[in-house]
Structure formats: structure tokens, C-alpha cells
Symmetry: D2
Subunit: 407 residues, 4 copies
């Protein structure tokens, strides 16, 4: 073995999930050398594989670079070192060299045992306390918190490619395309929602105002009413448009049922905002029977939690909107906790925000008419993410129709 | 009156159709001067208006520039000169200074009378023969043909904004947007197709292979079967995909009814092409009962003419494809003659080709999921063009469903 | 005159700016009748025009609908009524039937004189106090405030089409296209920035992180350094990426100067955020010489105000970010006050936000590679808005090069 | 070993190039079973690997399905059978069950030896004659030709991931994005063109008219003049716009150097077409000194072959355009023979056409401002394809500037 060498191990569905390919890639990208010391490919498809490689760098620094990189792909050092901890110097300041997280399932080696990191998210640090490890954002760091630094003692498990069960994710891989049989895709999505729910899964919708413009608000409201949805994440616009449509029949002044312009329709948007302010809140509007249909109504009536995050472009915004985005992020995370499926509809802003908060193993469906938006959202995705380039105004009603057939 | 001045007249719905605005714009853009000598605005909405302007340029050349420009917007000289003619020097060569056409209704002043130009299209020349005037493309010009040169003696009538009757063109203007209530738009389009047909109109479809990929082939076949379509313009790909779907159930190897990949499905595309070559033609396939459903089948069965224009990217192409594009253009024009409505679906190439062949008063509906495509096609459009950014796989089935309700 | 008729007047560049066309349109769209009682078209291009119409509705309600609609297009009633005022019933609640503003220059008729409304913005209400009128958002309304209700006594002046002077807005109209000679467009934009500044104008940039990704950060920093920019409006991402690039040379871990991936580059984003938290603020980083180049540095050094508005998708966000969007909106408005030109670069969110805050007469340039984004932003625009579909990484350096040539 | 089992072998850079991953995927997708009988992973990065698998299906048909599928990924049967041949029943008709090609390097086992297939392209059949094998399109098949049927005796070698040498393909993988440092990408592309040429490579440009609209025609002409380009593939539009710009300074009537509209500029497009018809051909225009600059001029002057393929949307088309697309395809293929790099600029039609004609190992660079276009073109790509979403009007001049620096 050369001077600047180290052995690493990796196990799991190495080939099926491309893990070994990625590790080899990374080593070569960094101009390192490697030898495969031992390899054991599962003889049947469910058997796990094991590989032991010896990696060689030009010098210690080079070797460390390579090692840190392959650790992030799921490799672990043969001789496992424990994590290093350093205290946060101030509130909201991480120690230098803090370990920056991925969104993959992560364990840390501390006091000679592997501990699972809780609340896993991307681009955060890891706080260790009372033999537990937590993924925390910089603003939640308190002076003196013990934060992991460096890359030692960390084991990442990349998500494995799903194989079993018939679901929409299986037949399309992670690609997005507008050239797919739409009616069938709608059927598959319906099936997947149905099965996820039937097996006790938690489904969260993230949505933008195009749901209302394109005439799909009734479909989404129906999904909530039927009990398929466990949380709604949105901004001010979805709520305002939904309530405008529910109370006045228009979306930005256009009659949704026939696409004509309503008289003084330009006022309807602001009138709606004023109506919610007059009631004091959306919940109050429902209580006082001023709001009797639509997405927000169904949320209130069926006690489905919703979070409206403020944005700089908001009109109003409604009293229910959390105008402080740092607070809104916390509320989003509460809704997303333990979600099994997240359906993102026509909103880049809230979809990216939600994506940042999700561990890699949550199923994500992205539906939007703009292909670059879908591509952007899918870039972070793995096998469990599905992009559908379609017209939500036509697609969502189809999905609901299919779900109702199954009931 | 200044030395380099001339009076022009213009009449029609000057203000409603923005004609006067455009004339004023053009004069100012060219840094000319003008005085409104007389103006007569129709007192009621159906009354035509009349205006007489005196235009002044810096010199004769400048004045001529301005005049030629405003003539193209519908103005005519107060003292009308006749057209000038020059002989084509060779086959397929127009004389210098030939008049290059617009796609607007055009009359020419010849032998002291106004003659209407036939077969109006954009960017062509005008041939005068036996007191008739024809719009002809350069390749059809024969040596010695009398071609109009210069800009004198030509009167253009821009299309007027439609007002009466309830149709889909009225409520949306010429704008295109993905933020419209899709289900209602589908209803309006259905209404418009229904009424156009009921009143004896001619409807032509221009379509691309995404019709099949997205699962809308059955809807288009149904429209043809129901008698709403009078011609189909396409390329090789639509026909191949349609026949692959009709005979093997797949589109590029993917089963359209459930989006799974067929075994050896990659062959289906080429197998289909081979099957048509074996039969000799699409018509033969129908006769020998090898082709019993789909868009091409309905065309053959219902004697609806179709033209398949070749393109450099064709696989095959099928024996039915006209591989010479100059010939294909002529065949396209035959189908388009006297069309009242053209529905362009998911094909930029054939849609632009068709657009170039249409006079400005034909209603055009453009349906595509890619907004820039729709925008590009609409750029040439006037009030009678309508862009719909949607997923054809979801939209067309809705349209057909709505039409069947009306029957 | 019929029973349900009323006379209206309108004056200005009626035809050149299409005002008359729009008024006729609106009447006809609402199925009203009209007669042109008097019309006086300016004989020369700078002369204003005048028209007096009598409008007839089917009943009083119908007539009122038509009148309110045409008032919004610039018409005024012949017999001018004063505005009506009603007290706000609660904090943050407008009275029923409040007048909802446009973004056009607006005057109100109160105590027999015309008062100009201050801080004009779209979709707000108008507060009258001490013979002054203010445009205020719903959240700023206090119980008892006198708010205009109904549509009487309001005069709107739509922006006129710019004619004089050679600027980039003149030659392109309000269209956006990717098929323009890019190098020349860059020259024209440079010219326009130069002239606006030379004549004492105020220029504000609204920008997204793609400025940094695409390698245009140096160009923007240079523009600020050269004194052309009077304010920067952005979100967390632009600042983080700019500081990452300025301090570490990377953007999301990619070395901007050669597009390679930096070692442990994934950390750089979070490291940058941590560095700002450690310093306490961006200003402190500059003071302590930790930040010595880039967009944010040039802002601090040249005392150019910047506002970073928080959004739900922020990492961090930086201590300088205003996480409460309602507060951020107020700060944005302060920067935008009296701006003559706003340049929006690669950020839909902040650009739409800014657009909502601007009166219609401010010049807006929108630069983005995604055509639907540009189209969406331009939809609200009038003649003074210009959309450029290009790659900012190539375009902005060209603009700066051109400006430096002029100096 | 089970009854319906067979052993296959595969060798090469199995893991680095994901070949093994793809084979495992395919078997599992088809619900087959497999055991890894032997595996030998190259211990160093350049060492080839070898694997022997035994595959088991539910029945013979199932097993055959799996085998045929994995053969297409590079696997070969342990006991190699020879190919089967069948005679073509008619001109332009392939025998049933013909083998449909991929675009990968392919060998066939015939008379106990492996023969390499010539003129490799996708979706064609393979003709065997005199112990040579040729990839031929259906229209070139003659009655009696010996065509390969079934899937036996065929060995495919997927392209390997390039590792050595510093080129633009290496650092970006096959992804396309508009969020890259444009100026650096331009430098890398320049480097790659320079090196390809220096090492005696053949470079072909495929281009659309946006090259001229966006002001990049001078850059492309310069590239040809400098000797970097060995062939130009385009349609009518590029030639017409280039010659309009070269002779009249405009593109569709707009002055390219300052983006103003030329007087009677709408005629320039047709005037240009007429001028070429008058001269008889583009070559004649150059000879008679009517054409003295631009892309087409540089082609003629430097004897760089160009092919203009007709399309249904052509104006004219020019006498030089090959209006029969079947003929044009053959001419395209001649130019593409042995090309090492193909640069596709702003033309979906001709780029897809060219892509269909290329073997998988040719480097392809796709440059377009429309992301869906780039994505669509890249879908067929492997590691050697590179998509750049940028504004060609800004990007190409940068590339040329960089190349000139290197000279």
C-alpha cells in the first residue's frame, strides 16, 4: 500500500443504485488512484453487495479530499474514526469547518456507536446533544452548541432505487417530458395517491395560484374533501385566488366558469383581500359562513393544516399569511415532518423551498406547464422524484376523476 | 401645402381596428409630418370612418418612403395612379422592384378599375393576366409574365376586428397564456368548431406527432370521423406514429394505454414504416384491412384529403410522403384553399408553413405546450388568431367530449 | 339623448397612444352604444386631440358599468362629480366599495379642485387627508381613515407613447424576442443607461443569483462602481452567491473563472452564510476587510442602498435579509421612490414585486433567458417596458464594455 | 442452472460507464432473475472489467426478451450464434423481423468472424454483402438484399465515458443549463474546437437563421474563414438570411448593425431570394462578385461544402436548396462522414435530422436559447453531447474571439 492510501468499504445495492459508479467517478474526477481489493456482487437482485477499495492520493491533503468526497457518496472508512465536535462561538454562528449536510439518511459515529441524525435536511449543520444528533439550520444554532466539524465519523446512505410495487415512479424513472400519454399518467398518479393513502401515508400539497387560474381549484378542493391530503403549503396568492373564486366566481376578475371578464372584476382581487381582513382570518370567514367552498374552506372544515408563507410580491398579504419567512420555514417543516409524498403544483418558489426541507427518500411529484421549472426542480431529485409537464387545469381534474373511480 | 406633400385617404373601422393609429405611428417612425385635413368618425359602432391626411416628407424620396409604408397599412393615395408592370426576365426570376405582398386582402388599380388579387399569400409577387391578378411564388414565375413593380395602384384592406357572434376569438383577443381556465377554453373551442362546421365552413388540421405521444390520437380520429375536419396537413412523423399506435398500440415503443415500454418496442417505429412500404401506401393498408383505426384510417375511410410533407429529419419516409417540399407546398395550398378555420397542433414546422400560405382573414387556433412556439406563431397573427398553451393530450379529448355533447 | 346616456370627454394623444381605440373597445365589449359628438384630431403630431362621446346603456346600472370602465382608460365625465369618501371601519380594513387603483397617473376631484395622488401604485386604495391624496396598501389603513369609494371624481392619465429622443425603448416597442441582434441591443441599453444617468436620472437594479452563476457579477459590480446605479433590490440568494464568489471564487461550489468544481465546494455556500453571521452583517464584513470585491461590496463602499427581501426558500438567510416581507416591501418602495429606470435581471419573484410598486411611467428593462418569464413581466408593461431574452452572462459584460467606451 | 437460463458475458469499463448498472436494470425491469457467476473489476482505472452472468426467464420467450434487451446494452451470449439473414422481398421493403439498429458501434458474427458494421446510424437495418456489413435506410433496400433478422450474432459497444484530455465535455457531463459561467463556457468551447482541428479532426456546423437575426453571422463566417469548419448543414432560411445580411445589411428587413428597420425592408427577404435566382445559384453570385461576404460566401470561397435541405416552410426556396428531402438526407450524410465534432446552433429541425445520422461516438455541441430544444436534442445524447442554453448572438462572437487569441 502506498504512503498516502486508505481503505474504504461500501455496501448496499452498489450496482443497481449506481453507488459504485459514482464512487469510481469521484475518485477519477479528483485524479486519485484506486484498487479494488475485494468485491462481492449480490448474486440475486435483492442481495446486497460489498466492496473494499484502497484509495491513493498524491499527498495527505489530496487523499483527504478524495476520502471526504467518497464518504458523501456512501463509502465509509475501514478504520472508523469518531466525529469531532466544536462549540458554536456565538448564537447563529457555526464553528469553522462545520460539517455541511446532504439530504440523505445520515448516521454519525459517536462514543463508539452509530447514531441516526434526526430531521435530516440539506445544507445544514449537525448538533450533538445527549447522545442524539439533530440537523439544524444556522439560525437555530445557540452559543456553546456542540456542532460536528470535519468529515470523520459520518456515514451516508444514498436512497436506493425503488423496485417493488407498481407505482408511477417506477415506469418513468426520474425523467420529465411533455411527450407522454397524459390520460394514462393521470391514472398512474391517481393510483399512487390512492395507494399511499390506503397504506397510511401522509401526503402534502404545495401549490401556486395557477391552480385557480387554470380552473383546477375544484379538483384540489375535492382531493382535500375526500381525505387524501394531510397538509397544504402555499403562499398568499393561492389563498387569495381560491377565496376570490369561491366567493365571487372569478380569478383576477375573470369568471372561471366561462372565462369572461366580470364587471369591475379588477376589484375582486383586492375586495377578497379586504373581505378576509374584515373577517379577521380565513378561519373566521368559514365560521361566519362567508366562505363556503374551495381549497381553503376544505382545509378549515376538514382540519387540514395549511401554511401560507409571505413573499415580497404579495398583495395584502392576508392576515393568515406568515410574513416572516424564517417563521414560515419552521411552520412548513412541521407540516412536512414524516410526509411520504409531496405533490408540487405550479409554484417554483414554494416547491424549491419545500424541496430544501425534505430528506431524499420522500416521493416528490412536480406538475407544471413550464418545462424549465420542472427540470430545475428535478435536478436535485433522485429516483423517487417525478416531473410531469402538463396543463394543471386539465390534468388535476383527470386525476381526481380517476381517484373517485377507485373508491 | 408643402412641396413634398401628398394627400392620402383611408376608410373603414379606422379606430376600432387601430388602422389610424398604425398609420400615424408609421409616419412618425419615419420622421414624416402630417396634418389631418378631414376626419369623420362613425357615430355608431358599425358606421365606417373616413380620414384624409396630408403627408409631408423632407424630399421626394422621403415622401415616397412614407407613402409606400402607409399604403401597406390600408391608406390609398387621393389621386390614384395605376399599377406598373414589368416582364419577368427569366423563369423563376421576378423583375427588379417587384411588389412584395402582404397576407391582407389586396386590390390593384389596373385599366381604371380595382381588381381583387387571387390566392393571397405573404411575401409573393403579383402576376397580372387577362385583367385578373394572381399572387404567385417566385418558383412559379415564367419568363415574360407581367409582374407588378413599385407600390402604386395597390389597396390593402387590413382585417377588421370581429365583433359579432360569440366565439372563442372574441373573448381572448389574440393573446396566448397558460393561465386560463382550461376546461372552459376547451368548451369554447368546441363551440367554435361546431358553429364553423354548422355554417358550412371548412376546417383544416395541421398536426405533429405529439398528438400521438400524448394520447390525443383517438380524439383527433374521432373529430375526423364525426365530419368536422376537411383536410389534414402533417409530416411523416404524425402518420408513422399514428399507424404505429393504430396497429401496435405503441408510440415510439411505449404502450399508449398504460405508458409501459413494449417488448422490442424500439422496433415498432421502423416496423410500422416497413409495413406501409410492404403495403405500398397508407390507402392500400386500409384497403387490405391492415389499418383499421386512427387518424390516417379515418382520413382514408371518410375521403378526407391529407398531405404529408417530407422533412430532412424523416425516418423512412413513408411512400405517401411527398419528399419534394416544393411539390408538397402546392399540395398544402390546395387543401387550404377557402379554409375558414385552421387548427395547428404541436408542430412548429408545419404550422409556420401553413401560416405563410394563409390570407389574414382565416381563423387560426394554435395549440402547443411550449409557450415560445405559440408566441412565435401568433406574432404574425391578428385578431383572428388564438394561442392556447396547454397539454394536447388532456385538451383535445376535452374538446371532443364537448362537441359530442352538442350533437 | 336617450334616457340612460351620459357624455364623456377625453383628451391627449388619443390616437397615437391608442386611448380612443381602447375606449371604443371597452364600450363595445360591454355591449354599450356610443355616438361621437365631437372630435378634434391634432393636425400635427404634437398637437393633442379632444373627443366628446355620448354613451348609452340599457339601464342605469349598465351605463354605470360602462362609465366606470372608460374612466379607467382616461375618459372623464362632462359634468364632473367629486369623489366620495368613507371611513375605514377598522385598522387594515378598507370600506366596502373602495376605489381600487391602477398604476397610472391619477387625479381626484375634491373640494372643486383636482388633486394629484401621491405614491401611485396598482391595486391599492386612496386615502384623502388635509387636501392631499395618497395611494396606500390595505395593511397601512387605519381605523377612521378617509378612503375613496366608488368611481366618481377620478381622472386617470395613461402613459403616452414616447417619441422624442433616441433610446432603446423607441426602436423595439414593448415586444420581447430572442431574435434580435444582441450586440446592438447591448449597445442601445448602454446608451440608455448612460443618458438616463447623465440627465440626473435614478436607476435601480433588481437582480437574482443567476447574475453570479452566469459570470456577470463583475459586470454588475462595475456598473455600481462607475456610479450608474442608485439602488439594488434583491433577495438572500444574490447576496450569498455574490459574497461566495467574491470571497471563495465559486458560485454554489463551481469555480466561476473556469467552471470546475472546487474541493469541498458544496460547503462554500453555507460557509459564506456562516462568515456573514460571524461578522454580524455585510457592512461589518466590508469594514473588517473580509469582503473586498463584488456587488455587495460596491454597494457598501459607494453607499448605494440595497434591500434584501427574505423568501421561504432562503438558506440562512443572511443577517442583512429582512425576513418580514411586509417590512421588506416598505423598504423596496423607499428605494424605488422617484426612480426613472428599473433594470430587472433574472429574477421573476423580485421583478414582479417591484413591478407592482411602480407607477406606469417608469422605464423598465427586463433581462432573462427564459422567454415566458419575460412575457409574464411585460404583460403589465406599456410602451416604456422592454423585454430582452438573452443570456445575462454574455449580455451584461457587453453592456458594461459599451458604457465604458462612452465615458 | 434453471431450464430457461443462459450465460452472457460483458467486458469493458463496466462500472465507470454504467454498463453493468444498465444490464442489471434491464433484467430487473423485465422481471428476470440473474446470478453473477464471475466478476472481475479492473483494479486500476484504466483496466477493463469482465463479468459473466447467468440470466433466467420464466419461459423461453421471456428469456429471449431479456437476452435481446441486454444484448443491446453491450452483453454478448457466452455461446455465440451467428446472425440470421433473410432476403428483402421487394425494393424498399425489409424482411419481417429485421434487426433495427442503434447508433452504437456494432459488430456482427458472420461466417465465424466478427465484422464491423459500416455507416452506423440509428433505426436502420443491416445489409450483409461480400463479407461486409452496412447500415442502410429502408428506402435504399433493394429486392433480394441480404438483411439481418432477429437479434443473434450482434455485439454492441456502447461509447465509453471520456476521461483523458481537458475538454469542455469533461467538466459538464451531458447536462444542459443556463446557469453556467457563459464567458468561461465560451472559452472551453473555443479550446475544444481549436484542439479538435489541430489534431486533424473534422468539424461540421448545423445552423439556423437565428445565427443571422441575433448578429452572430460574422462570427460563423470568421470561423469558416479561419479554417475551423469542414462542412455546413442548413436549410433555406440560413442561406437567405445570411445573403440578405451580406448584401443588404438586414435580416428580415431589420438593420443588423443597429436594429433599426430598413426602408421597404420587408422586401429585402424576397429581393434576396430573387437575386439568387437571377444569378442562378449562390456560387454564381460569388463568381459575379454580387456576394462578397458572409457565411455562404466563405463556404464558396474556401471550398467548404454546404448542403441546404428544403422544408415545407421555405420561401423560394433558393435554387441551391435540395427540395427533395430524401436526396438532401444523402447529401447530409456525405458531409457528416467521419466528422469528429458537430456544432448545432439554433435549429431543432436540422439538428435532430443530423443527430439521427450520427454514430454515438461523435462529439455534439448544441447551442440554443430555448431550454426545451436543448433538452430534446440531448435526450439521445451520451457523454459526448453538450448542451449550452445561451444567446447565440452573444456567445458565438465570444467563442471566435477566444479562438483567435489561441492562434
Amino acid at each position: 500500500m502506498a504512503k498516502f492510501s486508505q481503505e474504504i468499504e461500501v455496501s448496499g445495492h452498489l450496482i443497481d443504485s449506481s453507488i459504485l459508479t459514482k464512487i469510481f467517478d469521484k475518485i477519477m474526477d479528483l485524479h486519485g488512484e484506486f484498487q479494488v481489493e475485494e468485491i462481492n456482487i449480490g448474486k440475486k437482485k435483492k442481495d446486497p453487495s460489498y466492496a473494499r477499495l484502497s484509495i491513493t492520493g498524491k499527498n495527505q491533503k489530496h487523499l483527504d479530499e478524495i476520502l471526504e468526497t467518497v464518504y458523501r457518496e456512501g463509502a465509509v472508512s475501514k478504520i472508523q474514526k469518531g466525529i469531532s465536535l466544536k462549540k458554536a462561538p456565538k448564537d447563529m454562528v457555526m464553528p469553522d469547518d462545520f460539517y455541511s449536510t446532504t439530504n440523505n439518511h445520515t448516521q454519525v459515529f459517536h462514543n463508539d456507536e452509530w447514531i441516526q441524525v434526526e430531521n435530516m435536511m440539506m445544507d445544514k449543520c449537525i448538533l450533538v446533544k445527549d447522545n442524539r444528533a439533530f440537523c439544524v439550520p444556522v439560525r437555530d444554532v445557540k452559543k456553546g452548541d456542540e456542532i460536528i466539524v470535519g468529515e470523520n465519523g459520518i456515514k451516508i446512505t444514498p436512497p436506493e432505487r425503488p423496485r417493488e410495487g407498481v407505482n408511477v415512479f417506477e415506469f418513468m424513472g426520474s425523467s420529465s417530458s411533455s411527450e407522454r400519454p397524459t390520460q394514462h399518467i393521470a391514472k398512474k398518479v391517481a393510483e399512487d395517491i390512492y395507494k399511499t393513502k390506503k397504506s397510511g401515508g401522509k401526503i402534502v400539497i404545495v401549490g401556486g395560484p395557477a391552480i385557480v387560474h387554470t380552473g383546477a381549484a375544484d379538483a384540489v378542493a375535492e382531493l382535500i374533501k375526500l381525505g387524501y391530503i394531510d397538509g397544504v403549503l402555499a403562499g398568499n396568492a393561492l389563498a387569495v385566488h381560491d377565496i376570490e373564486y369561491a366567493t365571487l366566481g372569478t380569478s383576477l376578475g375573470m369568471n372561471v366558469h366561462d372565462a369572461t371578464l366580470a364587471y369591475r372584476g379588477h376589484r375582486n382581487h383586492m375586495d377578497t383581500i379586504n373581505a378576509v381582513f374584515r373577517a379577521g382570518s380565513i378561519v373566521n370567514m368559514v365560521k361566519s359562513k362567508k366562505l363556503t367552498r374551495g381549497i381553503m374552506y376544505q382545509c378549515v372544515k376538514n382540519k387540514i393544516p395549511f401554511v401560507l408563507a409571505g413573499s415580497i410580491r404579495d398583495d395584502g398579504p392576508l392576515p393568515d399569511v406568515i410574513t416572516d419567512v424564517a417563521v414560515a420555514q419552521k411552520e412548513y417543516k412541521k407540516i412536512l415532518k414524516d410526509a411520504n409524498m409531496v405533490i408540487m403544483i405550479s409554484t417554483m418558489l414554494h416547491s424549491i423551498a419545500t424541496g430544501n426541507m425534505l430528506p431524499a427518500n420522500v416521493k416528490v411529484i412536480v406538475i407544471d406547464i413550464n418545462q424549465p421549472t420542472v427540470t430545475k426542480l428535478m435536478d436535485r431529485g433522485t429516483w423517487q422524484a417525478l416531473g410531469i409537464v402538463t396543463d394543471v387545469g386539465a390534468f388535476l381534474p383527470m386525476v381526481v376523476q380517476q381517484i373517485k373511480k377507485r373508491k
